[in-house]
Symmetry: C2
Subunit: 314 residues, 2 copies
């Protein structure tokens, strides 16, 4: 007899509903050097801004330098950010919905990661475990080990993993990796920022047919979308490994208003990916982030999340 | 030096109108072994079928074996076809609109090609000169030589050239090649069959911005679309060098009705490319062909050409 599935709580309850798309918004916590009195103010402003969006969860990223991954100069300088778990615990008490806290597992000692996983309230917190950004990174905990630690804590926190269409375009095995991650407990996937719709659809398609062949129920696949208001932000997206098709790169480079152009492209992508996933029976969702901390880009991100809410309610 | 533009006639008049999209339909002439009495019957049936489409021109292909281009087995066996110029001259008298006759220039002796070019009525005939399909082909006339011969005959026939988004994806210089072909007299381009919309848009975009930078008026870019009613046809398209995105290949392979699915994809492609070209100010058009000679695929091609006519009239 199969083990009884524990009654889902928090974000897990949301994941159990496969027919309603997920709506996430992600933040990078404030820089580590932020004055303590400013942190609560930033948290309050953020909560007030995001509250009307009716999100299923707020995503908090765990930023790594990643400069070992890319020899080119990082377009935005790396700034150490506050630990997302600390920012959540100390300042986001006013946020009533679940949070999804990323863990770049290579940064943590196994014992610390395990006790963090054990201490979280599955009614409030889900996690996305992310492996090292490069094989050259100094790694304290590997991804497979982190997944074991999660199992050791009773597999209670809803567990997410990353899915990367760009890697699929290079190696055409990302759907196999996803199924491997599902086999150890992953119940949702979040992509990196998507600007190449064909590559995103290629991954959805290979994943959907692989699930059918193996009799596996597909997990939610959440596409991350990000507006791009300047050539610097475009350069940063590309530095992060995001593939922007030539035509769109040309358009943004020649545009008087790249913010609006990229916003429109994100809205088009959301509509097209929603239709595509529905057709293939893959539960899906969208995660809106701003890769820069420029005010106009953050404001456009909030508008985009609102537009996606409206699109999905239609 | 660019040749002086003569007063346009026939298809040339149509090309002078940059704001109305071109609508073409292409045929491979009947096999060489066809009985003479059957040729007229085939021509009459074809004309009757195409007449209601209101085409700007009928394209007649000049088929080469091309097996030197691809070491894989040709999915449909190569059958020698009637020379398109002969088929036109002897059997298509009932076709009132212009024809665009392809010339695979490597097949012809320079003197023969030149006299053919000189003998055509520019009010009725345009040509597309196509270079050898592989560098290993035995070549009687090279493309540059054929272009010179065309100039020697007074540059009277409207001259088209091929444009290949797949080559652009590999080498990113197809827009430069196009500008080079324009400089020697090309006034329109026809692509090979398009199934990868991103790659087609990449080429349009690089071409449009290159034209702007160099102060050149873009020439009509005609996208070839072809339905695909079976896995054999899909295989043949790929053998011909057409890039079908993974997601679409999966869809067609798993479909109960690939003909309808590919038809829908062609219609979507036409709408999206039309909008894209209009936005970038590139005059455009569509050419519908059936790469197989199966009846259902030919009938679906005729329906597709009708749907494109309706789309462009909206």
């Amino acid at each position: 007899m199969a083990p009884q599935t524990p009654e889902p709580v928090g974000f897990g309850t949301r994941l159990a509903d496969r027919s309603t798309p997920l709506r996430l918004f992600s933040l990078t916590p404030p820089r580590e050097a932020t004055a303590p009195e400013d942190l609560s103010r930033i948290a309050d402003v953020t909560i007030e801004r995001l509250q009307p969006l009716g999100l299923d969860a707020l995503v908090l990223y765990d930023i790594e330098d990643e400069s070992d991954r890319n020899p080119d100069v990082r377009p935005f300088p790396f700034v150490r950010s506050l630990d997302p778990a600390t920012f959540h615990a100390d300042h986001l008490g006013g946020w009533q919905q679940p949070v999804i806290i990323y863990r770049s597992v290579g940064k943590y000692e196994p014992a610390d990661l395990k006790s963090w996983l054990a201490e979280q309230d599955p009614g409030q917190v889900a996690t996305v475990l992310v492996g090292a950004s490069s094989q050259h990174s100094a790694v304290r905990t590997k991804l497979a080990e982190a997944q074991s630690l999660w199992q050791d804590t009773g597999s209670l926190l809803p567990l997410g993993s990353v899915a990367i269409p760009e890697r699929h375009a290079r190696r055409t095995d990302e759907h196999d990796r996803m199924l491997g991650k599902q086999a150890v407990g992953t119940s949702f996937f979040v992509t990196q920022v998507v600007y190449d719709l064909t590559w995103a659809k290629d991954l959805v398609s290979d994943y959907a047919y692989a699930c059918r062949e193996r009799g596996v129920e597909p997990a939610h696949l959440v596409f991350t979308l990000s507006v791009c208001g300047s050539l610097k932000t475009l350069e940063f997206l590309q530095w992060l490994g995001v593939h922007v098709p030539r035509w769109l790169q040309n358009q943004l480079e020649h545009s008087d208003d790249p913010l609006t152009d990229s916003y429109d492209q994100c809205a088009t992508a959301a509509a097209e990916l929603a239709t595509f996933c529905q057709r293939l029976g893959v539960p899906f969702g969208f995660n809106v982030e701003s890769v820069s901390n420029r005010r106009v880009e953050i404001e456009a991100s909030v508008r985009l999340a609102g537009a996606i809410r409206d699109l999905l309610e239609d």
